[in-house]
Symmetry: D3
Subunit: 281 residues, 6 copies
Amino acid sequence: MKPAAPLADFARIVQAALAEDLGERGDITTEAIVPAGTGMKAVIRSREDGCIAGVDAIPIVLARFSEPASAQIVAADGTEVRAGDIVATLSGSAQTLLSAERVMLNLVGRLSGIATATAAVVRAVAGTGAAIKDTRKTTPGLRMLEKYAVAVGGGVNHRFGLYDAVLIKDNHIAAAGSVAGAVSRVRARWGDAFPVQVEVDTLAQLEEALAIGVGAVLLDNMAPDVLRRAVAIARGRCHLEASGGITLANVRAVAETGVDSISLGWLTHSARSLDLGLDVG
Amino acid sequence: MKPAAPLADFARIVQAALAEDLGERGDITTEAIVPAGTGMKAVIRSREDGCIAGVDAIPIVLARFSEPASAQIVAADGTEVRAGDIVATLSGSAQTLLSAERVMLNLVGRLSGIATATAAVVRAVAGTGAAIKDTRKTTPGLRMLEKYAVAVGGGVNHRFGLYDAVLIKDNHIAAAGSVAGAVSRVRARWGDAFPVQVEVDTLAQLEEALAIGVGAVLLDNMAPDVLRRAVAIARGRCHLEASGGITLANVRAVAETGVDSISLGWLTHSARSLDLGLDVG
Amino acid sequence: MKPAAPLADFARIVQAALAEDLGERGDITTEAIVPAGTGMKAVIRSREDGCIAGVDAIPIVLARFSEPASAQIVAADGTEVRAGDIVATLSGSAQTLLSAERVMLNLVGRLSGIATATAAVVRAVAGTGAAIKDTRKTTPGLRMLEKYAVAVGGGVNHRFGLYDAVLIKDNHIAAAGSVAGAVSRVRARWGDAFPVQVEVDTLAQLEEALAIGVGAVLLDNMAPDVLRRAVAIARGRCHLEASGGITLANVRAVAETGVDSISLGWLTHSARSLDLGLDVG
Amino acid sequence: MKPAAPLADFARIVQAALAEDLGERGDITTEAIVPAGTGMKAVIRSREDGCIAGVDAIPIVLARFSEPASAQIVAADGTEVRAGDIVATLSGSAQTLLSAERVMLNLVGRLSGIATATAAVVRAVAGTGAAIKDTRKTTPGLRMLEKYAVAVGGGVNHRFGLYDAVLIKDNHIAAAGSVAGAVSRVRARWGDAFPVQVEVDTLAQLEEALAIGVGAVLLDNMAPDVLRRAVAIARGRCHLEASGGITLANVRAVAETGVDSISLGWLTHSARSLDLGLDVG
Amino acid sequence: MKPAAPLADFARIVQAALAEDLGERGDITTEAIVPAGTGMKAVIRSREDGCIAGVDAIPIVLARFSEPASAQIVAADGTEVRAGDIVATLSGSAQTLLSAERVMLNLVGRLSGIATATAAVVRAVAGTGAAIKDTRKTTPGLRMLEKYAVAVGGGVNHRFGLYDAVLIKDNHIAAAGSVAGAVSRVRARWGDAFPVQVEVDTLAQLEEALAIGVGAVLLDNMAPDVLRRAVAIARGRCHLEASGGITLANVRAVAETGVDSISLGWLTHSARSLDLGLDVG
Amino acid sequence: MKPAAPLADFARIVQAALAEDLGERGDITTEAIVPAGTGMKAVIRSREDGCIAGVDAIPIVLARFSEPASAQIVAADGTEVRAGDIVATLSGSAQTLLSAERVMLNLVGRLSGIATATAAVVRAVAGTGAAIKDTRKTTPGLRMLEKYAVAVGGGVNHRFGLYDAVLIKDNHIAAAGSVAGAVSRVRARWGDAFPVQVEVDTLAQLEEALAIGVGAVLLDNMAPDVLRRAVAIARGRCHLEASGGITLANVRAVAETGVDSISLGWLTHSARSLDLGLDVG
């Protein structure tokens, strides 16, 4: 199923991006040079191969200018484009199109970069059954958009924040004295209102988690052979997720261990923007 | 001179980042497991070599939690750290430190990644006299912070938005009919209230700009030998900035052509986060 | 096609509604009587026949409380329910469910009331080909939600505000001296960037509008026989919309004149809320 | 005493209403057709009999436009008008008056509709001594304004939200085990800081409430003869309020039972707007 | 007529004042020492003679705390109190009263200081017929409240900002070439939509203003004998206002020249707060 | 060390001040009289001796106008000026400079007034070793700016609000039964996370505080001879601060008692603005 674009987040980020780019005074170059009323046609084109995400930002940006301009989306979110392909065609006020260009390209470029990276990883593990997940290592303020871009690229969203799922990590285990202690505190406080996952560093901790019926375990920084033993131990009794030190080069080896999912912080914290440009005429 | 940290922008972004990570309900894992009143000591440590930027975010994040925790900054902005070095020591409420961890690391990691990339480029051109500049290709909403990180890394900030300097690009020139026409419209509208730079694609356009006394020119996508001819033509009569297709590998060759500055979009649009972690105890 | 729920508007209105109902101090009755941690199951049930709209508000309201509660939607937007039918089942914190009850019912009740009224009118004109439209006579602050409810009920949205379509009314015509004068000013200012509709009081004005190629005409306060003559005059050359003084009792007679659409202010400005209640257990 | 208009709420709602009607681009029709600087005189006139409420919105709307226009209020809040009566006279910029028209009429029309309905009920019970009250069944975001309109119409405001008075309902009684248990929890938590009312479904519950000295009881969905017995039982020892299933047709019969007050959700949740129009010249 | 308290401005300023005093963490002293649920009675008492203004702030402050406390106003706005007089009696949660004390006293003290200064000046000119006016020299952010305090003290409000009345000063006259030129530009732009006042430095300028029928003149920095000649020249043809260098010591001499009003910046820009204190028990 | 100007607070207050001065309509006088595009040069000059504070506000105000104007600061914060000295030179759009004048002068005048008063007190106690401190008796909404102005004048900031330091006052002591009881509750709740100060009215209470090792004591309303005995009792074991009834006339006598610091509410609650003016040309 196609993920739904988080339009409210687009609107908020577009407003912030326009505020920081235009200030109180606006585009002083275009105002001085391009007469009001001048029309223009242009296209947004990809300068490299990739997976497009975030095109909903384009009409939202244009709608905030007083002189009208409009966009036709050619490559909807999720489209795989080749270098030179058109993403959208634009027409209307030249002032608006020139002043809006950078904010549109910055946002669509960044989200497409994340979708492109995700899609590459998803292709790399094709056929193994492992899902590719994101983390909370997102750009401050852009989490909803970046998680949406991961979904567009074929990834699966992990929890959205500290508030919607329980993830018990080493410091929580230390505070409770044991995996079992931590889990029982969570069950006492919240019942089964939220999904619960436990992060483990060793196979012993995995066995402890299985013994008390934990539904999902995050295997932190384990080599493929250890992961394989974890899969053998779990025998399908819980969801197993691998995390830590996984790159495009080694992700297939990890996926082939039989884990259910693989989470990757760099999809969002170190994404390269997809190179997009605006061509006039 | 050390750049001043944009504290108001830190405060705004920290608020947004905490809102999206904590939601209305907060850190449900830590609340259930770690008793209120539990104390903790921890350090933020770099897991790789790099240049630190953004540590002002750390106390700003901690101050927004009701149970007190405080930070001592060990590596101030601009410090070159090695893998394993401590960036800050933290102490106070364990609940606060665990709930605040990811927001602190995401923000400092991203800004330090930008500062690290900038510092690498600045080192690569050392001795040539060329300044390294950023662009408007920044993350939506984070421009002030990302430009600050570039300054921390030894870079020089280009204009902050469309509102504080004039940059005449190809579409502006087309609208005005010529470089000279565009410049004269700017002078008629704004006098000398703002710095003016003209982007040129050819040496002929450079000569046209020089003829009318333009103070700064951006040389777009020119190979080093063409840049060298541009420097010879300009003979110091205007500031020359190279831009487009410049990487860490070829930036020294560009700098040695004699241009005054080099601007690089990837410092901000494709920065890799610096890997930081929180170690307890 | 099913209309998309305007989630950002739901979020904004829910926040305002909770603020005015809870104040700084919250639900002082429930806090004093119902212990924290008490669980509860409940259903939202319709007390009369109608068309449901706005159920997206239910989880949005619940998510803003710190003690968790969740909802299963039984009757999605657009469902025709009978008195006694369940709209949603709720479970979780009793404090949350009791404190959230009124805000959920007020919002879903109002939007369902609008959808129910719209659906009744749509049924009344079934087979005539006339579309049922809303107006700008909406509750201040709720326009996006109320127009969405009209769409859920099978209606078609007229312009969303003064900014997205041109509607030339009597005072505009007076200012320009004639229908033709008003239209030509609009074309000079905006080209064909926006749809243009002209409101006319007489058949002479309709002919004037047709003569200059206007695409849509609003026929204000005309009796069915006059509308029929208007349809004959227009001969399909423009979209004809009837408006003014139209009720559920006479809407079919209006539709049978052959007009393309009928707009009704009372769908939104005088809607009766659908009677919904919350039943515990 | 005349109720004071909640001017801050007027200002907030007017701002929201103008934002949704004007968007970023404003009134594209009027801007294109009516030259800036054109003056105009107009009146707001009622098209039907009713009680006016909300005229403070008129100057607040006009003040937000840059070209000046002003209003003279003819029918202050609480005035009973006849069809054709003038509510306010307007003069100033034609652009402002035309662009502001709908927002002014929507807000004053809705509030006058509520005041008109309230006044009709108040007249229906004249001489019985029963007060007419509103409920929390108000339009999301408009509660303060709608409760003000009820007061203008001669009604008495019930609590403004969950925060300013205690109302113990069936689910609270169930949670506490009995009426007495619920009341004693409230007294333990809040002392006598807030007024306390108990909703009862049976005369047995009424007696239980009287036995523990409750000051106000809400009699839910009781027929007139049962209400009459409740009045006999209470013998003035507490305030009795009737609620549920009461219409303009049967409200006098309810009032004549001797209850102290009658609360009606439909005054606000299903109010019909009063029909107002703007006439130019 | 008693001026109406600007309640929306009170609410906004109270919110800002509480935010800066409580931060995210609240009153750490009171929270640690005073148990929740402790009750308290207290009074706000004036420590010196003066005129009270701003008591509406007191319940607005208290209403923003979760534990209830309430106030009875003893000295309404405009009351002349003596040292030791009670301004308000407070009762309810001790935590709330102690945490709210400083914000209440700061705001009421400042506004009462302005009202007291104004009342002293009004008394000094009693019988002369001269009105006492404020200026735009108000504390940033507090203008509406400070102008309200002037009105409470018996003063008359000058324009509220640059937007609601025209005041032509020396630099405007210089730009237009003459008083007459400036006035005619104002009449061309705005007609008679706004009151117009001209500031003059000399009697020649006064005559110029009278010649073109200006309705109000501000006589800047003129000695009493010059003011007297101005009054003789004007012969009632326009409103005359004296301003500049006027103190409590010389204000009567100015008033006795026959000017219509006297405006004083120091009423607001250099007001001393009235000394108020909170006494417990 | 020079205090850092709180730029975010400047930005917030400037925005509020411009909003209240310009409204929706702007400076109607200047707009009508001074043609757009007119240039102007001006200076801000002090009309009396004083200590300047708040000049950062000047460029922040100017930057919010669309027609450009800029400032050169001549007297940085902390500069002692004489009557007639220039504080800043301004140039650019005449419209902007005239419309911005009052907001700039109001803010810089007020902060300079506070810095001037503080500097006078600091000079009066020179050589005694006593620090001059502010209090929480600040203008609502301006606390950060006013405390900054105190620091500019050479004062030392006391706590910024109720949230960053513990100050135990008489009512807290009463609630806890004794000084020792109050202090031990604070230590139980907060450990040593915050500095703790105790306000005492008698020397007996001082001894009680010393006995339990309190680090700072506030001596309320004590005459110099009592203060001297307090210093003798404390023998350097804790920080002693005098407060209450201290004026410029008696502050040296207080300082010479040997107390460590003196706090003065009137520095902020009753500051006189420094008289600044804008001179054109």
